[in-house]
């Protein structure tokens, strides 16, 4: 009988670059920057790393296929390095590879690194993906982009709960205002200016009803983690240990796009979060989760996710949001580091960047954003589109 991942693996060290328009840095420079911080934090030598996983999404325009770029950039000692890609969950997938390798006992120390260099394409937004959806889908798929795909959720949500789309948009605006306020406190964040609700509401339309300030930053960056067993972490002199409590992944199987779905929630997140709480032994997430970094690629994604994570009741996320429940001083602060919205979203790095914030918060290193005595931190990635997606959930906490 499987016993789950809880407390089998500890985070030995983490690193993360400043995210942003890093015009003069390529993916190699970004990876080295994150890695140097990480290995110093871990307090080990590079040759102690026995296996590595690398997460990137748009390999075609950035680093090419395979994990060669990471192995060469970091001059890794001819160990196994595996590239993983699972849309926006790619960074968390790299982490999962490293964590599972340690948990299996196959290796003692493993590295997970995520990187994305998005600002080499010459235009705003994510790279277009018409040639990356497969030959069959490219015969019939609508002319969609990421904001358009997610924007549909807002119309679906408003219709399901019989609320005015502008009321949903107002709650979405509060999400962005909160993330900008948090990002302003984060020296590594891409976007560091606070905004007002009116600014968000009146920003230029990108995909109805999402305006510019409903969309996350498109950034360059890298983040990484070195993981080992709690026992080895102790033997290396670590006192305050952060361990993995849950790691779950769920993918759509075509039900949303072709069968029964209300268009107002993520089936994957609903299932993956339930499994994660069981794995971590969390009974009441609304009470027990201390903080979260969720996949706010667009404000509406965060809104709906609050319900899918079983923290807000169905149909009640807008109220919790407007009540400040998810603000930095709220009951369950969401995006204390600014989120994808303001920290930025270099896709392959994002999952690890979220863990970086949770790790720093648990270790009391979060500076102006430090929360009081957090116990469990949850991270969430949502890749693809509402009607066909990949969801990853990780929960980390202090190792007792």
């Amino acid at each position: 009988m499987a016993s789950g991942i809880k407390d089998k693996v500890a985070i030995l060290g983490m690193g993360c670059t400043r995210f942003g328009e890093r015009w003069m840095d390529g993916p190699e420079e970004l990876m080295v920057e994150a890695f140097q911080e990480c290995i110093k934090d871990a307090g080990i030598e590079k040759n102690q790393i026995q296996a590595a996983w690398m997460g990137t999404c748009f390999d075609e325009i950035m680093v090419g296929k395979s994990a060669m770029s990471a192995s060469m950039a970091l001059r890794l000692p001819n160990i196994s390095v595996t590239r993983v890609e699972n849309f926006c969950a790619s960074g968390t997938e790299a982490f999962r590879g490293a964590v599972y390798a340690v948990a299996s006992g196959a290796v003692d120390i493993a590295l997970a690194i995520g990187v994305e260099k998005l600002k080499d394409i010459g235009y705003g937004g994510l790279p277009e993906f018409s040639s990356a959806i497969g030959t069959t889908n490219s015969l019939w798929f609508p002319n969609l982009t990421a904001p358009g795909g997610f924007a549909m959720l807002a119309t679906g949500y408003a219709a399901k709960y019989g609320v005015d789309i502008m009321d949903v948009k107002r709650a979405m605006a509060h999400i962005s205002v909160k993330s900008h306020a948090n990002g302003a406190k984060n020296p590594k964040a891409h976007l560091r200016k606070p905004v007002t609700e009116e600014q968000v509401m009146n920003s230029p339309m990108i995909a109805f009803p999402l305006g510019l300030f409903d969309c996350c930053g498109v950034s360059d960056g890298s983040a990484c983690a070195i993981v080992t067993t709690p026992e080895i972490a102790k033997s290396l002199g670590k006192k305050d240990i952060v361990s993995v409590k849950a790691l779950q992944l769920a993918l759509s199987n075509g039900g949303e796009i072709a069968y029964q779905w209300d268009g107002a929630h993520f089936i994957t997140t609903t299932k993956a979060s339930k499994a994660a709480y069981e794995e971590a032994g969390i009974k009441n997430p609304r009470e027990d989760i201390s903080m979260m970094e969720v996949h706010d690629c667009f404000s509406v994604t965060e809104l709906v996710t609050m319900e899918d994570l079983h923290i807000s009741e169905r149909g009640k996320a807008p109220k919790d949001i407007m009540d400040g429940f998810y603000d930095l001083d709220g009951k369950v602060p969401c995006q204390p580091d600014g989120g994808l919205k303001c920290f930025g979203h270099p896709i392959g790095a994002s999952g690890l960047r979220m863990l970086y914030e949770m790790y720093n918060q648990l270790l009391g290193r979060a500076g102006d954003r430090q929360l009081k005595d957090p116990k469990f931190g949850l991270t969430h990635n949502l890749g693809g589109f509402p009607m066909m997606n990949v969801c990853s959930i990780a929960i980390v906490g202090k190792y007792n």
Partner: protein, 485 residues
């Protein structure tokens, strides 16, 4: 009895007032002010001759058995493919039989529509075929500030010919052919090259149509007075009237040339005018039809009692009434690719189309055919090998299920300003079908501010991609929200 068993016209939704052209372009060529009246039909940016022919064909095939078609004949001078059977794409969109059928393209002359009709009728008369659909459609480009720009409209028409349930019996034809080059379009050219209008008008339309009709009357012994409607194209409205006068036709029996309401639709025009005539026809009415272009085809029909039993899915009257004023010359010019506007780097991506994948998925993509699980009865799209219903997941136990004619409602949608589109925002969303199944589709023929969750939609076959580097056009189905009427 052999003849017309069904008919359907298609006039695209946008109309461009000729005054709009004049306001924008008369500075360049004031002569266009001579034909200032009325408006012309303009296809949406995602339409072409094939997609409009499919729309007319679905209109025509309402309540008819598409599986019984022996062939689809397509007539056009603006076919998207020079070597790939254009009629075959229309047949696939109709989900018509692939085996035992014979489809053909008729091209290179504006009378190709009437020629295709004669070929279909004679094949049925021979007893070797029993049901042939003739679709004619043209989407022609005209240079800015030309008489061509003033006269040409976009549209399509389809006629189903057969030997059962005939609504208008075929009672004879006559053709004459001259290499009379009033205009031509060289291979690979975008635009017509036209000779002096006065000559085209007086020596072309004004002489050849009357000659052909007189020869037909002589051949058959009929009198022009026998006909309740005489249908012939001629975009010079004065000459159109003059021809009637010359032939002694009562003006009330001349079918309107549609110049004021949609412009001249080229190959489809005689057939489009005929669909309008049939809508107002009574049993025993005799109708004379002529097509013009390097000569003239003449056909005659006699309406039967069956006419009362047929209604196209959408009448010409309804098509003409359901119009949206384009009111934007620049938008028209962009839709017709007459001006260059930047799509941005995002719009540069142009992967080729996998022809092997298209072959495997041709029914799904062109015919909008999904699966219905024979075990649990769930309709589903796209077609995957395993049933989508969680309690079923049966492998490979499917029958074809057509979504093209199923009504749907909008479940969720957006209007996307980031997507590269010549008509931003790109509107798309998820559609729920009556009877089960969903599809994630582009929307068309709508403005974002009109679209609502729960709004009914119908399906429309549209151009999905145009690969100008390789000359390929891709098609799929889009949802049309019922925003009007």
């Amino acid at each position: 009895m052999v003849g017309i068993t069904a008919y359907g016209g298609y006039v695209p939704r946008y109309r461009l007032s000729r005054m709009t052209i004049i306001q924008n372009m008369a500075w360049y060529f004031p002569v266009i002010m001579a034909v200032a009246g009325g408006e012309k039909a303009v296809a949406n940016w995602d339409e072409d001759a094939i997609s409009m022919a499919v729309a007319a064909s679905y209109n025509c095939m309402a309540g008819k058995n598409r599986k019984a078609l022996d062939g689809v004949f397509f007539a056009s001078t603006s076919m998207p493919f020079t070597d790939r059977l254009n009629a075959g794409i229309i047949a696939a969109a109709l989900n018509a039989p692939e085996e035992g059928s014979m489809h053909a393209d008729f091209s290179s002359s504006l009378k190709a529509g009437t020629t295709a009709a004669i070929a279909a009728l004679e094949a049925i008369e021979s007893g070797k075929k029993s049901s042939i659909l003739v679709a004619a459609s043209d989407l022609r480009k005209a240079k800015m500030a030309t008489m061509g720009e003033m006269f040409i409209g976009d549209g399509a028409a389809a006629l189903l010919f057969g030997n059962e349930d005939v609504i208008a019996e075929f009672t004879g034809s006559y053709s004459m052919n001259y290499d009379f080059v009033d205009h031509y379009k060289g291979t690979g050219k975008d635009f017509d090259y036209a000779w002096e209008e006065r000559w085209v008008r007086d020596e072309g339309y004004g002489k050849i149509i009357p000659m052909a009709i007189q020869s037909f009357l002589k051949k058959t012994g009929a009198s022009i007075a026998d006909f309740a409607k005489v249908v012939y194209p001629c975009y010079f409205s004065g000459t159109h009237r003059e021809i009637a006068k010359r032939l002694g036709i009562d003006p009330s029996k001349v079918q309107d040339n549609l110049h004021n309401v949609c412009g001249d639709t080229g190959t489809s025009h005689p057939l489009l005018m005929l669909t309008a005539a049939l809508e107002g026809a009574k049993p025993k009415d005799r109708i004379l039809l002529a097509g013009f272009g390097q000569g003239c085809d003449v056909l005659s029909f006699e309406v039967t009692d069956e006419i009362a039993k047929f209604k196209p899915a959408r009448s010409m009257t309804a098509s003409l009434a359901a119009k949206v004023d384009m009111n934007n010359y620049q938008k028209y010019a962009k839709f017709k690719d007459l001006i260059v506007a930047d799509l941005g780097i995002r719009g540069e991506a142009n992967p080729n189309t996998s022809l092997t994948a298209l072959w495997r998925k041709r029914k799904m993509v062109l015919g909008f055919v999904g699966n219905k699980c024979t075990k649990c009865g769930t309709p589903q799209f796209p077609s995957l090998p395993m049933c989508v219903k969680p309690e079923c997941h049966e492998v490979g136990q499917f029958e074809d299920y057509e979504f093209a004619d199923k009504p749907g409602t909008i479940q969720m949608f957006t209007g996307d300003m980031l997507s590269p589109s010549v008509d931003p925002p790109a509107v798309y969303g998820l559609v729920d079908f009556a009877g089960g199944g969903k599809a994630f589709l582009d929307f068309t023929d709508c403005d974002l501010n009109q679209v609502k969750v729960g709004m009914p939609v119908t399906m429309s076959f549209r151009r999905r991609s145009r690969d100008s580097v390789r000359g390929f056009t891709g098609y799929f189905w889009k949802a049309v929200p019922k925003v009007e009427g």
